[in-house]
């Protein structure tokens, strides 16, 4: 059978969701952000909640997320997305509100906001992209940077005596009473992407059930920051990130 006979509209099994705009993503080649954007857009599309969803974009590489997913967006000050989401959700309880934050935004400058929003049990979704580095500003050390990992500010590798230990923020958040669903996923292979999509969908569904905060961490790559090509970066992540940041549900009730 010729390829031309297969490529017909009725045979299409996977295509770009309408919720993603036609803008070219500004992310580097192979960046996990693109996959997570796609998953969020697909989940919103499948749930049919395009006009009922408000996203809060962070400061970081994902600051332009509002250019790519066709829903309502707000732009928060650095780290303050959970505070803005709290206000948005309390004023619009019938809307689905989610924040999209990186590890520099959520685990460093925004630690107070995320801790208290989760502890209050705000009915929001938090999508947390953990790539163990500050991507946008040039690959500096983040709180989640692994020990021994080379970054722009730790050129000889992160040392525990000088730079402290990597922060497992998701484990800390799982301890809080206000959270109902805390999970850690990844998006480097097709099965992992499908699992992550299920987790994101569950988190969005939870936010309408008034059960508390849903927190989805996505362990990601930063090819430019790590200075590793995309496919090798995925392998590096599997070998080095997963032992320290094990995947799976930490809390589900």
């Amino acid at each position: 059978m010729d390829v031309k006979d297969i490529i017909k509209p009725e045979n299409m099994v996977y295509g770009k969701t309408k919720l993603l705009t036609d803008n070219i993503l500004h992310y580097c080649p192979g960046c996990s952000h693109g996959v997570v954007h796609k998953l969020i857009a697909e989940v919103i599309d499948e749930m049919g909640i395009q006009d009922k969803t408000i996203g809060i974009s962070p400061v970081g590489c994902a600051v332009f997320a509002y250019n790519y997913i066709d829903i309502d967006w707000e732009e928060a000050a650095h780290g303050r997305a959970p505070a803005l989401a709290t206000a948005t959700k309390r004023l619009n309880p019938d809307k689905y509100v989610f924040t999209y934050q990186g590890d520099g935004d959520l685990a460093s400058i925004g630690t107070a906001e995320i801790m208290h929003a989760c502890n209050r049990g705000e009915n929001i979704v938090v999508i947390f992209i953990n790539n163990a580095i500050y991507g946008m500003t040039g690959g500096q050390m983040a709180p989640t940077t692994l020990l021994g990992m080379k970054t722009a500010t730790t050129p000889y590798g992160r040392r525990a005596d000088l730079n402290g230990y990597p922060l497992k923020i998701t484990e800390l958040i799982a301890q809080l009473e206000g959270t109902c669903y805390v999970t850690r996923q990844s998006v480097e292979t097709a099965p992992a992407v499908r699992k992550a999509k299920k987790a994101i969908r569950k988190a969005f569904e939870n936010s309408m059930m008034k059960k508390g905060t849903s927190f989805v961490e996505i362990v990601s790559t930063c090819n430019s920051g790590w200075k590793i090509p995309p496919v090798k970066a995925n392998k590096w992540m599997e070998e080095n990130m997963f032992p320290f940041y094990p995947l799976g549900d930490m809390k589900d009730r």
């Binding site: 059978m1 295509g15 993503l25 992310y27």
Partner: protein, 73 residues
């Protein structure tokens, strides 16, 4: 029952990261020797006969440039 698939890559939007090539279970995909107008070696079906339409490439594509078609044969 067997399936046969085919993909269409939006060459201009593809950034040639190669994640789809690494995730293709049948070795259908490869990065082209030619580049698009932004200088990236876009992905293409090097061996179209091998494609089974599993959608793995499109699922992992960070830029969502792959459309997958599939038929029963």
């Amino acid at each position: 029952m067997a399936f046969k698939g085919a993909i269409v890559v939006d060459n201009e939007k593809c950034k040639g990261c190669g994640v789809c090539v690494a995730n293709c279970p049948t070795g259908t995909l490869a990065l082209a020797k030619h580049v698009n107008s932004r200088g990236y070696n876009y992905a293409y079906m090097a061996e179209p006969d091998k494609c089974i339409g599993c959608t793995n490439c499109a699922t992992v594509c960070p830029d969502d440039v792959i459309t997958v078609y599939k038929v029963k044969i």
